[in-house]
Subunit: 392 residues, 2 copies
Amino acid sequence: MFGFKLLATDSGARAGELVTPHGSVPTPVFMPVGTQATVKTLWPRQLLDVDVPMVLANTYHLHLRPGEETVRSLGGLHRFMSWPRPILTDSGGFQVFSLAELTRITEAGVRFQSHIDGRTIELTPESVVDIQHKLGADILMPLDECTAFPTEKDYAREAMERTLGWAQRSIEHHRRCGTAAPGRATSANSTAEGGRATHDKGLQALFGIVQGASYADLRVACARRLVAMGFPGYAIGGLSVGEGPQVMNEMLEATVPELPEDRPRYLMGVGPPGDLLAAIARGIDMFDCVLPTRNGRNGFAFTSTGIIRMKNARHATSDLPVDPACDCTTCQTFSRGYIRHLFKADEILAMSLVSLHNVAFFCKLMHDVRRAVIEGRFETFRKAFGESQIEK
Amino acid sequence: MFGFKLLATDSGARAGELVTPHGSVPTPVFMPVGTQATVKTLWPRQLLDVDVPMVLANTYHLHLRPGEETVRSLGGLHRFMSWPRPILTDSGGFQVFSLAELTRITEAGVRFQSHIDGRTIELTPESVVDIQHKLGADILMPLDECTAFPTEKDYAREAMERTLGWAQRSIEHHRRCGTAAPGRATSANSTAEGGRATHDKGLQALFGIVQGASYADLRVACARRLVAMGFPGYAIGGLSVGEGPQVMNEMLEATVPELPEDRPRYLMGVGPPGDLLAAIARGIDMFDCVLPTRNGRNGFAFTSTGIIRMKNARHATSDLPVDPACDCTTCQTFSRGYIRHLFKADEILAMSLVSLHNVAFFCKLMHDVRRAVIEGRFETFRKAFGESQIEK
């Protein structure tokens, strides 16, 4: 029930299709982030309206609140958040190392204080897999150690070794427990968003995560050893943490050739449109980032001519939509002048309108890239896109 | 283009139909409040989905920000906020007396400091009508003086006299200016919410507002003198300001019989479902109140069994919808457990989900009341509704 089909390649870029228990996803794909089982300010119906193919939710946050048992008792993550399409849950590794007060990290796992109430939490590679089995996402991520930038090479190697050890334990635990338990039978209220969601753990796919900080040789070593473990997909973590585009691209160029062609490649936490295109040119298939929703809430809109600031006075009497080239619900309905008014008046609807547009923009970009790859004109597309982004 | 048809009466309650330039509205009607040209947290499309027939917007707030000229330049209020159905704008009198720092009130008008930036604003009966002509709502309200509770009778009489003088000037100004100017031709982007909105000032209806504080004789006198001026509809203002249900009902019982049967009657700023039914029993046709949206943002849901607090721990694992008897988008899609999680996690979507449900609940209540009136079982309906409201 999980698979990846590579359909076309062009100048390093790939067009493919992820097959998951909740349907197929065209790649390259951008996943809006629904940290707490909601893509901030948006209804699932609105995400479907702009054809979002897949979303991400966060294991760390959902473990702390409401807890995976609550999510499971309410039918699993798909039904909980009324999202009928595929979901990926990240492992929480990044959050443990960035949000929480970390008290101990050992080979066994991590111990830290919850950023919500300070209580002590312990996570192991096995418990992180268990949590995600209960959440019921389509794609799971193993616990990893995400180092900051810059990191000394010795520590980067140590963290990478720990991540590899955890990856081995994660895949073993997933194979042992992930196929044995039956999917929980769902019941009660159907959703208006596309019917019942089931979560048979045997259908879930666990990806491996390549770490190695900004050291190409560590990245290569990590990728090779993960590939030997035989994951159905590979993520590249620990990038977009301040190393800059040049280093990021170097790491991608070192890593991607080590990954099997017939498995999806996921660059975690990236990013602005230009970075997406640069990573796609290096063979990446999947992305997630808070950028469209966070920028949307702050009034920054991505458009076909560049980023515009909706709060700017020059939009006050503008009857134009956010992006005249966009067919999302926001652009088909509201003027820049109205949206600017809502921001100035501190109205929540403002955040929602621009978040939806931005999410639509990222999904449309992936759609257009995919078509360009299939039609063999990716480089032309990428160049034209770069030149179009002039508005500030 | 403006009219009112009385279709049925039953035990004092009325069922009718308001005819406006933006379509017909079944009465009794509850208008959700869109103070700043947005019903807080909700998209117009969502209001249409739960069949909201009409909304209210606020002259005072829109005059201060973004200004009526901006709204007019963006096609008038309907197009500005993408709301295709009727809109009523209140005069801002209530806000001047409650929100702003009032510096002077004379026969000529009011002068006060803006609650946003402190600048001095002057409003006269004429300017308030002009502002509303520019906003382009279907129903306008004249400037009135809304006294606090309690108010000495001498002052209540003085304020009532001032309100009557302003009403006379308002209707004269509206007749003089409201029919002369042609509707502004609209252009540019159509809306997904139901097409273009026009605002021909000649089609707008100006209501009279009955004041008189908690003194029945003042209310009667005020109503009679307003009726002599010949308004197409009558509002009752200055109630629900702390006088309690008994006094409010006494004022309604004194006032309503003075109002012509063939004109709609609008009780401003009311209120909880029980108060709505009590007022309907006394012949009121129209209401507005922030209650469904404000309570929604705070996690209080109106249901067929009473108010429930969505943040309550007992909902944590509840797979029930907010109200099993409700067919709104929220109740058809999400569980109480999910909504409680969103509130605990401070997610904006929580406010939106419960606001929509509450708005749907109020609209459905009016729909059900209307049918009961037409079918001659209003008292039975009202009694049964009161008995159903047990949950706290």
